[in-house]
């Protein structure tokens, strides 16, 4: 288990004072929670293996309140953990024993829908799906669609730079956000971006996106809206092996087609999903692709026939195209329910999230099978095949002593393997607590320090979400130092022009 920083006894000792101080800031008497029963609701996020009651939870209702809470906590030297809907799978919203948990659930209004500029301005607690729901009847939608989209909030999406099944064509959160309003730990409200494109100076919005709540508290988001495509279809393509499915994915992209979504499931995931929601998946295949195309009918027909040819040449044994919108949704229902489907056949599971260069898929799958045997734990794979984002689900039983630890080791081995083949630790779930201690696998000590210097620019006292992302907390003063060997270096002997 990853260890969180030790609680500060001085902060714990003044808990009652802090509660009183926060009550002065927050108008609603129910906005400050200090009783165990109330705090229990916040003890974990989607990474439920880690639990911790926060010292205090606050549910502000205005920006002014957030600003004052942050300033107050900064003055009192109290750490703050921001939280949206708490759906993080990496422990990004895991509370701290000596910290204030800042819930943003009450910021759930859509402030403005601006079709002239094809954007919407929303509060951070609005769910991802609610944005699309608000504009759907006018023929628009918000593209990033993480599987948790019913529950996850846009503020959390910014913090994690969330993806989804349509990233390949439409990008991640970072590619679909135009503006962010944020409050710094010092209580200052700043606007980054807006309804225009690109940054006038450094792209601060770009680094805030995906910063896992370590740089500021998001209070408003301007997202790009897209016109819903005229037509959407999905194909199910089954293969006798994962290698063939992987090859097919490469060839589709290599032929110049960028599908709206391209997902892959292995035998275990196919069976679990089919049993759970009867999506119509073939059960006699080792790997299944779901390929979604969108656009005008002529384009879809053109690309569909090209894909069928490619799939056939790669050895596909099943090719099934959705004949109705209902059937398309059914194809996806299985994939989208893959996690709960696995949850049904195993007491517990842990979802990993590495990304690999797609060409490495056969090697990674083979190695994963070896690891599965080694640890004696089963693994099911769902895979954002188009962009190489792998979601192995490791099945375990937390009631069996040692199983969780074994699962965590197995997971760490998978992620190390991803890095080893040229990939990364996390494609869309974030580092959080879960992968914090693996950061050294991907970054040198100097690189990690350089990243922490960025935090120093936003939050020099390290009050926001400490203990997440970085395995070692450095003080900003220490990070700022530079060692120069004055006069010891000769004039560089390099070619001139």
């Amino acid at each position: 288990m990853v260890m969180m920083p030790k609680p500060d006894p001085q902060v714990l000792a003044k808990r009652d004072l802090l509660v009183a101080g926060l009550r002065k800031i927050i108008k609603n008497p129910e906005g400050v929670i200090d009783e165990e029963a109330g705090l229990r609701a916040f003890e974990c996020d989607g990474l439920s293996a880690y639990r911790q009651l926060p010292m205090i939870a606050v549910l502000p209702e205005t920006k002014q309140e957030i600003s004052e809470i942050l300033k107050y906590c900064a003055d009192e030297k109290v750490n703050v953990v921001p939280r949206g809907a708490g759906t993080s799978l990496s422990g990004g919203a895991l509370p701290l024993a000596d910290g204030v948990l800042l819930g943003l659930g009450k910021f759930n209004k859509i402030i403005e829908v601006d079709y002239d500029n094809r954007c919407a301005v929303v509060e951070p607690g609005v769910t991802n799906l609610a944005i699309t729901d608000a504009v759907k009847s006018d023929g628009f939608y918000y593209a990033p669609d993480p599987s948790s989209q019913i529950a996850c909030t846009i503020g959390g999406n910014i913090a994690e730079n969330s993806g989804g099944v349509h990233c390949l064509k439409y990008g991640l959160t970072t590619n679909n956000v135009l503006g962010v309003e944020m409050i710094t730990m010092e209580g200052e409200i700043i606007q980054l971006g807006g309804k225009h494109l690109d940054a006038g100076g450094y792209d601060l919005m770009g680094v805030v996106t995906g910063s896992e709540g370590l740089l500021g508290v998001i209070t408003e988001v301007t997202v790009r809206l897209l016109r819903s495509p005229e037509h959407i279809t999905a194909q199910l393509i089954g293969f006798p092996s994962s290698e063939q499915a992987g090859e097919c994915v490469g060839k589709i992209i290599g032929s110049g087609i960028i599908p709206a979504g391209m997902e892959m499931m292995d035998r275990y995931a196919i069976h679990a999903a089919e049993e759970f929601c009867h999506a119509g998946y073939p059960l006699d295949v080792e790997a299944l692709l779901i390929v979604e195309l969108d656009g005008p009918v002529v384009e879809i027909e053109h690309n569909n026939s090209a894909i069928e040819k490619i799939a056939g040449a790669c050895g596909a044994t099943v090719i099934k195209q959705s004949q109705s919108e209902q059937e398309r949704i059914a194809f996806w229902a299985g994939r989208k329910a893959a996690f709960p489907a696995i949850g049904r056949i195993s007491p517990d599971y842990m979802c990993m999230d590495g990304t690999i260069p797609r060409s490495q898929l056969p090697k990674v799958l083979a190695r994963m099978n070896e690891l599965s045997e080694h640890y004696g734990l089963r693994v099911a794979n769902v895979f954002h095949a188009g962009d190489g984002n792998l979601h192995p689900l490791i099945l375990f039983d937390a009631n069996i002593p040692g199983d969780l630890e074994k699962c965590e080791k197995f997971g760490a081995d998978i992620l190390k393997l991803c890095v080893e083949v040229g990939g990364v630790l996390t494609g869309e779930h974030g580092v959080g607590v879960e992968k914090r201690d693996l950061m050294g696998e991907m970054f040198s000590e100097d690189d990690l320090k350089q990243q922490q210097r960025l935090k120093c620019a936003f939050d020099p006292d390290g009050r926001l979400n400490p203990g997440k992302v970085f395995p070692i907390l450095h003080r900003c003063a220490e990070l700022g130092k530079m060692h120069v060997h004055n006069g010891e270096l000769p004039f560089p002997d390099l070619p001139r022009f």
Binding site: H196, L197, G201, Q451, L454
Partner: protein, 406 residues
């Protein structure tokens, strides 16, 4: 001034260590084709990365390429073209606009300036395609961020910071970026004779349609006339241009549908193939402002719906203004006579009603010294940006003062 021709990463580190030890300020360039963008530098030495060339990795099926910073954009485009691929944000070439040669741009320079062409509205900006960077910070420490995969949220996304930082944070030696299939067919629908208000409405409607418009621009009559493109230059009026691209049947269908959609708003025409390409290059590279090198040129990003009101306000306050719109109205290129007070900066920035920014792309050294070429920031953003710079380059040896005085 010492000028170093860099051809390896080790040499970059060597120069940086020397600069730190000797307290020397460095001007950092690719091929220096955009070195006149930003505040004039007071540097002791110059390093050029133009000799650091070569594609280090290219996997078309994975849509990824890695190249050394000095690799010429022309070489990269050629290699991608052979596999039917492209950099989808249509990187522009400002060489001639800035009084230099065409074809000099390096891949490092393109990303360091985060400059994107007309397809930015659909494909995203340069920054959206940058996946990984290796280089050295102003601490002379090796620096690595991102990776070669498309989906990556491991640690802060420092690629976004490096893109558009004009070499003030780190010297990039190698860049990994996303590439995309090149469309089989590109077509442009032209609508003739619209005024700015009508044009902005047409651009909005095109962008709100199901046709996945890849580029959308408005050329007032003088800009259209100067274009040297048949069906654009010779019609004696303003031209609204809307581009679609994709597979053959797809772009034909979309193009026909757009023509149908706009035929009641003015005479419509289609541009195919070479002419269509030429039009968008003309706009992306601001070729309209190349011939007269004496003018001051600005690039203004604003909410697209405000473009026509913005232009109306400018025309009242800056009568000698020449302009055109790209990015469906979200980008306005402005050219002004050099004698205009403050190079027009106060007026151009003062009229941005709800956000946006104006960047001086071409101006005399004196103008670039006296007015901020990059959008001025409030005190909090200045503090944060300055601290970021402090973290990367505490001795301010990299392009000192190029973006802002700090």
């Amino acid at each position: 001034m010492d000028k170093f021709n860099i051809s390896s990463a080790e040499q970059v580190q060597e120069v940086l260590e020397w600069a730190l030890a000797e307290k020397k300020k460095l001007s950092v360039n690719g091929a220096a084709s955009k070195s006149s963008i930003g505040r004039p530098l007071d540097a002791d030495a110059e390093i050029r990365l133009a000799d650091m060339q070569g594609i280090e990795l290219y996997e078309p099926a994975e849509l990824v390429m890695k190249a050394k910073a000095g690799s010429r954009l022309t070489e990269i485009t050629k290699t991608l073209d052979e596999s039917g691929q492209q950099m989808a944000f249509s990187p522009p070439d400002y060489g001639p606009l800035l009084g230099g040669d065409a074809g000099q741009s390096t891949i490092g320079g393109i990303f360091a300036s985060n400059l994107s062409g007309s397809t930015r509205i659909k494909a995203g900006a340069a920054r959206d395609h940058l996946l990984g960077v290796s280089g050295f910070t102003g601490r002379a420490q090796s620096f690595q961020t991102g990776s070669r995969v498309m989906k990556n949220v491991t640690g802060y996304d420092l690629c976004k910071l490096v893109a558009g930082s004009y070499g003030t944070l780190a010297v990039c030696t190698s860049l990994t970026f996303k590439v995309l299939p090149k469309a089989v067919k590109k077509r442009t629908v032209l609508i003739y004779g619209q005024n700015p208000v009508e044009a902005v409405n047409s651009l909005r409607d095109a962008m709100s349609s199901i046709h996945e418009v890849s580029a959308a621009a408005y050329l007032p009559q003088n800009i259209a006339n100067g274009s040297d493109i048949e069906f654009v230059s010779n019609i004696g009026g303003a031209v609204t241009a809307i581009s679609v691209e994709g597979s053959g049947p797809s772009s034909e269908f979309r193009c026909a549908a757009l023509c149908e959609m706009f035929k009641s708003r003015g005479q419509v025409e289609e541009l195919h193939g070479h002419r269509s390409e030429k039009l968008w290059t003309y706009l992306a590279n601001a070729e309209a402002f190349v011939a007269d090198q004496s003018t001051t040129v600005w690039r203004i990003s604003l909410p697209p719906s405000e473009a026509s009101d913005y232009i109306k306000a400018l025309e009242e306050q800056l009568p000698a203004l020449e302009y055109y719109m790209d990015w469906a109205g979200g980008l306005i290129w402005v050219s002004l006579p050099s004698h205009v007070d403050q190079a027009g900066g106060n007026i151009l920035r003062g009229n941005l009603k709800s956000g946006g920014h104006a960047t001086l792309i071409r101006g005399s050294a004196e103008q670039r010294q006296n007015i901020l070429p990059f959008q001025p920031q409030n005190s909090v953003l200045t503090r944060i940006s300055e601290s970021i710079r402090e973290g990367f380059d505490p001795a301010r040896i990299l392009n000192p003062g190029r973006m802002y005085p700090y």
